[in-house]
Symmetry: C2
Subunit: 328 residues, 2 copies
DNA sequence: CTCTGGCCTGTAAACGATTACAAGAACGAT
DNA sequence: ATCGTTCTTGTAATCGTTTACAGGCCAGAG
């Protein structure tokens, strides 16, 4: 006794499959018809098959979210926001981890042609020509959370890193710190490059010279710790970090070196993730609007699924600074 | 010019659709046939439709992972492990957040009958009769990460909280702490109940009386902070927390109260998540094997998808203690 | 030379829904 | 009473695969 199909329900209710389908999809039907179908559905415990439905209507009601590393708390924030929007719209979320390699991202984008999801929300950590091409050619709507050349002709939602950097430097100089170092992630990544550029500009705007710039191997706590020494040798009295994980890694090394945060060294993180609030001391962090980016990106994706002909939008979310205890 | 179908490939290659399908699925075919099909596939850029395939073969090659809160770092650890196992086996992972309500979990389990995934890996935060019934009746294989009555007849992988508690209490008494308090999450949850019981047993084994037991509204940082006061009023010299987030919340309150960790109060967390390592001071934490649980659970699920008649297994993962700086 | 058996390959029937189309019923207007 | 309109319902085609089945061909055995 296997799962009942729509045909079984139709038989049990003494009506046609078309009528069952109509009732189930809320199309007009008489009182009596609705009642008979409902009764048969309840009796048999019928649940429509999503696979069959997908094939016929050409939609799976699934969306794919691709991120580089689920362990990064900034993605947790984004994922929460995305989940909320898409599940409210009746979609499920397929979460995929791409890893740091761009070829995996390209493969993922091309694989979307299989049609297992109705859209893709991707936050690429590295971008190259192949990826742009793959995104252009993608069978399903794509929204990029991050920067991608405008010729990709795709909706994007990105942060304003330079402005965020400026907020951080403004705040630090206001606190009287002028020996500012920068702890970046890999500069060959999209966020790494943006932040490096933003940092240089922000210092220039304040007529300052960078004291030190270090690059961690990736955007993780462990990598941050490993290169903290390079930053500290320059004796900065403030360090801006490219994300919160790196900042927390740095603070551990500062504690190990017997330096006080914020008195000896002020620390500013970026992303304003949950970790910023949880770290000790609580981390002053540039809020790059990850929740809002997630939300807006999800909304763009839904809008594009409804109408794929709309002109691509490029949304920039403005940053703000969450001041906590790691700065004076 | 829409997506090519298998019929288009067949036409282009001058063969039948069956032959195309066979070549694509690696069934025996002559050298020449294989070559012609490959060429046509490449030329048209054909990619098989997952929706149609799912309908026919009755599988989607997707698995659902349902957790209560993606913000809890313990789920990040589990998710990583699960992703690794299932993607190696050729499955995609659908991540769903159930929220704290058991009715949502029941709805989720019942919704699996739609067949959008081939299996469900669920870590229920609360369990009731309805959920057990739903799991028993579920159309697709289910593996539970956590405790569920054995009559559910389902594969489970769970932690050994009592043993973990004992490790924590052993360690604290060894450090000379005997005024031990407990900061729990909601006691009406599965992990909350298990840990409360484990804590009581562990203290009894050491002939100790609990100094204080508090219950946070949920397993989050903010909730932990809010009830920390209740714990501290009893002037404990050690506090065991039901998870790392609660422990970090408590440590913030300790700092605010001017108390030193570990000298004034030793703190032990549970889960040994990434946060334990990142917090300051680094948190001594009971490793309940979340990565291993994720891995084993995923393996059980894959095995059951292969053979749904195997007798249910109940795996218990043993805990260990990761000693860091929050204890003397 | 014929027959049997074993490959390949193609035709067509699923899988389980949605939906275009047509047919029938009901009803009001003439 | 007849016609036309509208509303409901049923029949059957369709989505794009996989796969059971059968037919055709060839080789080897008798």
């Amino acid at each position: 006794m296997s799962r009942p199909t729509i045909a079984g329900v139709a038989r049990a209710a003494g009506v046609s499959v078309a009528s069952v389908s109509r009732v189930l999809n809320g199309l007009p039907a008489t009182e009596e018809m609705t009642e008979r179908v409902r009764r048969a559905v309840a009796e048999l415990g019928y649940v429509p098959d999503a696979r069959a439905r997908s094939l016929k209507v050409g939609r799976t009601f699934q969306l794919t979210l691709a991120v580089a590393d689920v362990g990064n708390p900034v993605y947790v924030t984004m994922m929460r926001a995305v989940e909320e929007v898409v599940s409210a719209a009746g979609y499920r979320l397929v979460v995929t981890t791409t890893g740091p390699d761009v070829v995996d991202e390209v493969a993922l984008v091309q694989g979307m042609a299989r049609g297992y999801a109705d859209g893709l929300l991707i936050s690429p950590i590295r971008v190259d020509e192949d990826l742009v091409k793959a995104i252009r050619a993608c069978e399903v709507p794509v929204v990029v959370a991050g920067s991608v050349p405008s010729k990709a002709g795709v909706d994007t939602v990105r942060a304003n890193s330079p402005k965020g950097m400026l907020l951080a430097v403004d705040h630090l100089t206001y606190c009287g710190r002028r020996r500012i170092a920068f702890l970046n992630g890999p500069a060959d990544t999209v966020p790494g490059a943006a932040r490096a550029k933003g940092f240089a500009e922000a210092l220039r705007a304040h007529d300052l010279e960078p004291i030190a710039v270090a690059e961690a191997a990736d955007f993780t706590f462990a990598a941050g710790r490993r290169v903290s020494g390079d930053v500290l040798r320059a004796k900065p009295n403030a360090v801006i970090c490219a994300n919160d994980l790196l900042a927390v890694g740095l603070m551990h090394e500062l504690a190990a070196a017997g330096l006080d945060v914020p008195n000896d060294v002020a620390v500013v993180g970026m992303d304003d993730s949950e970790l910023a609030e949880q770290s000790f001391p609580p981390l002053t962090s540039v809020n790059l609007g990850s929740a809002e980016r997630g939300r807006r990106a999800a909304e763009l994706l839904l809008a594009r699924i409804d109408d794929n002909d709309r002109t691509p939008r490029r949304i920039v979310v403005q940053p703000s600074l969450s001041i906590r205890r790691s700065t004076p």
